[in-house]
């Protein structure tokens, strides 16, 4: 098999890689905020439970979590989440990344000086308005570099979907590598991930620049 046809074959899996990537972000970014707010809840029960969940999600391999979501229900209850592997993959990824994003959000929110809340309160901002208009925009700016880090990691983590044989780019590459006894597919995969991340870097850089109008 030629280098070119390898690339062609693997790029067919690229759309699935993209699907994992974008769907994970779509769900985990907002879910992370919800988790962060629960983690910071004044209700001790909610915050403690949330903290425990976050620590399990961050303390165990994503691969294990993916296997659990994909096959766990079958072993426990005798049914699968879905025939389409994309669904358990996205569920596992979104939950895992939400835990990481939650900690980033929390760090960002806690880094905003108390004086911002106090000024807003005295000036008549409601609590919701204070959060949405005063706090959140500043948090977004502060956490952008950490978010970029996670997004770059996510691009590479999509390859973990090979453990449940979801036909994304890396899984196809690995199959070719096995059948052709060639190392070349891994080189191709490396090039794809690197190019993907170059685009991500460029995009996130643009966003960070746009937020640079104030300090």
């Amino acid at each position: 098999m030629s280098f070119f046809s390898m690339m062609l074959k693997m790029s067919e899996g690229l759309s699935k890689t993209c699907a994992i990537f974008f769907l994970t972000l779509l769900f985990s970014l907002p879910l992370g905020m919800l988790v962060a707010l629960m983690r910071m809840s004044r209700n001790r029960f909610i915050s403690t439970v949330t903290r425990g969940i976050i620590s399990v999600l961050r303390g165990t391999p994503l691969m294990l979590q993916l296997l659990a979501v994909t096959y766990g229900p079958y072993y426990l209850f005798g049914f699968s989440v879905s025939r389409n592997k994309l669904i358990p993959v996205v569920i596992a990824f979104a939950i895992n990344y939400a835990a990481y994003f939650a900690e980033i959000y929390r760090g960002g929110i806690e880094s905003i000086p108390k004086g911002q809340y106090e000024a807003a309160q005295v000036l008549g901002y409601s609590r919701l308005r204070t959060f949405l208009r005063i706090i959140l925009p500043q948090v977004v700016k502060r956490i952008m570099p950490s978010i970029t880090n996670e997004v770059v990691t996510l691009v590479k983590d999509t390859s973990i979907a090979f453990t449940v044989s979801y036909q994304e780019m890396f899984t196809i590459g690995k199959q070719i590598a096995n059948s052709q006894t060639s190392f070349l597919p891994f080189v191709v995969a490396g090039i794809f991930y690197f190019a993907f991340n170059a685009i991500v870097d460029f995009g996130m850089g643009r966003v960070e620049k746009r937020l640079n109008y104030y300090r």
Binding site: P113, G115, Q116, E118, A119, A120, Q121, V122, L123, G124, Y125, S126, R129, R133, I134, P137, Q138, K141, Y213, Y214, R215
Partner: protein, 255 residues
């Protein structure tokens, strides 16, 4: 001293305010009345409870006991605050200027000043016009589109004063408005406050600027250890204090 020496209608009355933080008493039976058009300065060593008192009056801290009245209406009675909506209404009666400005860094100068009034039903156009007017008064015309980080500390504090004034408060609180500033920048802020005093703005000013306190205020309150040690007209309290503790404090400041 009684009301007779300070005629006028009270804008703010603090009666027997008590406040403690986790067991340690920070304010003990504090009563202060501020009449319309008057300037009251609060002086005292660090940790004496000056900020806490202003923060109780502006609902940033919850006092444990006492009464807080604005224009004779209870915002707090016997340690119980009015309901949320009432407090929101009371908040429009006072403004608070912080030591470190607390401007919103992601808002332009104009938006910092003009957004809060729109939360109370003022139209955006009207609020912006008012903001421009106030900026002119603060000597900051032309800086509407600047962001706070582009301004000096003195300019930021003047924006913060404009922001407080935009809500047309009946009384303005200052918590050490020049303490975070380089010495060469304190003058421009004090000048603005003085101008407000000349216009008969009602104000309570926590300050370490004794000469300034003496020049602008009708009444000076000296606090120490959570109690009012001595109060009276500035010429008495600052020039000829009765209490030994006041004298000590002032001597330390002259050095």
């Amino acid at each position: 001293m009684t009301q007779e020496t300070r005629p006028g209608t009270p804008v703010l009355e603090l009666r027997n305010i008590e406040k403690s933080f986790s067991g340690s008493t920070v304010l003990r039976d504090i009563s202060v009345t501020v009449n319309r058009g008057n300037v009251v300065s609060i002086i005292g060593p660090s940790g004496s409870g000056k900020s806490t008192l202003l923060r109780c009056a502006s609902f940033l801290e919850t006092a444990d006991g006492g009464d807080i009245l604005y224009d004779g209406e209870y915002a707090m009675q016997g340690g119980r605050y009015a309901d949320k909506d009432m407090l929101w209404n009371f908040r429009s009666r006072f403004g608070l200027v912080f030591q470190n400005f607390n401007l919103f860094p992601h808002y332009s100068v104009l938006k910092n000043i003009s957004e809060p009034p729109t939360l109370r039903g003022v139209s955006k156009a009207e609020a912006e016009e008012k903001a421009r007017l106030l900026l002119g008064k603060m000597g900051l015309s032309g800086r509407e589109n600047a962001y706070p980080y582009q301004l000096s500390g003195g300019q930021q504090q003047r924006v913060a004063i404009a922001r407080a004034l935009a809500l047309e408060p009946e009384i303005l609180y200052f918590d050490e408005p020049t303490s975070a500033l380089d010495p060469e920048l304190t003058g421009e802020v004090l000048k603005v406050i003085r101008q407000l005093a000349d216009e008969k703005m009602t104000m309570v000013i926590v300050t370490h600027e004794m000469a300034f306190a003496r020049a602008v205020s009708e009444w000076v309150v000296f606090m120490d250890g959570g109690v009012i040690v001595e109060e009276g007209p500035p010429d008495l309290v600052l020039q000829n204090p009765e209490m030994e503790r006041t004298r000590q404090f002032l001597t330390n400041y002259e050095k």
